[in-house]
Point group: C2
Chain length 190, copies 2
């Protein structure tokens, strides 16, 4: 393996181990030291890739935020508040289902909340995402429903239901989300 590929493989292992430890201890409860101990690496070997836990957390979150941005952009291009909310809901449920544990893990973690405070570009995307759902019902009721649906989808996607395929899980998440927001549920949408 070339040095470059090797470096990439170590970076990937660091990210994978970080996700495992975040699950067990939350982001805030995981230190770079714990990650290096788990991998049997020295701290300086990790510093080569990530200088702080937040740099590592950013690398975990970056691909998710990129996907959310694409969904938000596409939703905002639709005509009508209901079509926009519906597009966002479908896209977000698909993202949560493809990253079941990760999205549940990151939602509401104080370490993620703290990182978002330092990343106004990411916070702005999340605010646009909430607004797309909240705009269905202007006022505080719409905001409460939007918060319930976004957090609810993220958490419910991470629950173990036994043998449930992605399409079925996504269908139920979207149906519940549509109903909560007062959007039309297609016939047979159980």
């Amino acid at each position: 393996m070339s040095d470059y590929a090797n470096r990439g493989a170590t970076r990937r292992r660091l990210i994978d181990v970080a996700i495992e430890l975040f699950k067990q201890h939350s982001v805030a409860g995981t230190s770079l030291q714990m990650i290096s101990d788990e991998l049997g690496l020295t701290k300086s070997a990790i510093y080569h890739h990530f200088r702080t836990r937040d740099e590592l957390l950013s690398a975990v979150m970056e691909p998710l935020i990129t996907e959310v941005t694409a969904i938000v952009d596409a939703a905002e291009a639709r005509r009508g508040v209901r079509a926009r909310a519906d597009h966002l809901l479908g896209g977000y449920a698909a993202l949560a289902v493809s990253n079941r544990e990760l999205v549940a893990l990151l939602t509401g973690d104080p370490g993620v909340v703290a990182l978002l405070r330092t990343r106004p570009d990411w916070s702005a995307v999340i605010e646009r995402q909430m607004a797309l759902l909240a705009d269905v019902d202007p006022g505080v009721g719409g905001k409460v429903k939007a918060a319930l649906v976004m957090s609810g989808i993220a958490s419910a996607a991470g629950v173990e239901y036994g043998d449930v395929d992605d399409a079925t899980l996504q269908h139920h998440l979207v149906t519940a989300g549509r109903r909560a927001l007062g959007l039309r549920v297609p016939h047979g949408g159980g």
Copy 2:
């Protein structure tokens, strides 16, 4: 102040400081050492009240679990799955609204999940609570909706919406939850 009252006051301060630190660092990211540092107490002064972080976390959760148990008992005494789900929903939303930050904080925290594994009596109450909602729609769809509604209510209750009174917030949480579960929403419940 008597020794007894003094002891009670210290215990209360420990719990209050623990909740503040849990909010900032998650449960898993908070140690007894951090709590003693914050209060300017020695670790042995804390040990007098709580031997481990989990003992302290149990003291934080105990009153909430007691309330949830009462709600679950009352809901199970109702006749019909929909009436039962509706009772649970109303009670849980009221509990979440009266403890806005605490319930949001504890939902999904890995430290809480780990503690629940050691408390089968508490886990059983939470399972009965989920079953009361999931039974509205037997099968995986009902389970997904129940998970979405429970986590969604807990998280959405902890969001800052500006000046919203408890009754309004509770009304919106219950309405969104009823809709997501496919329960009847009273006229004007928008």
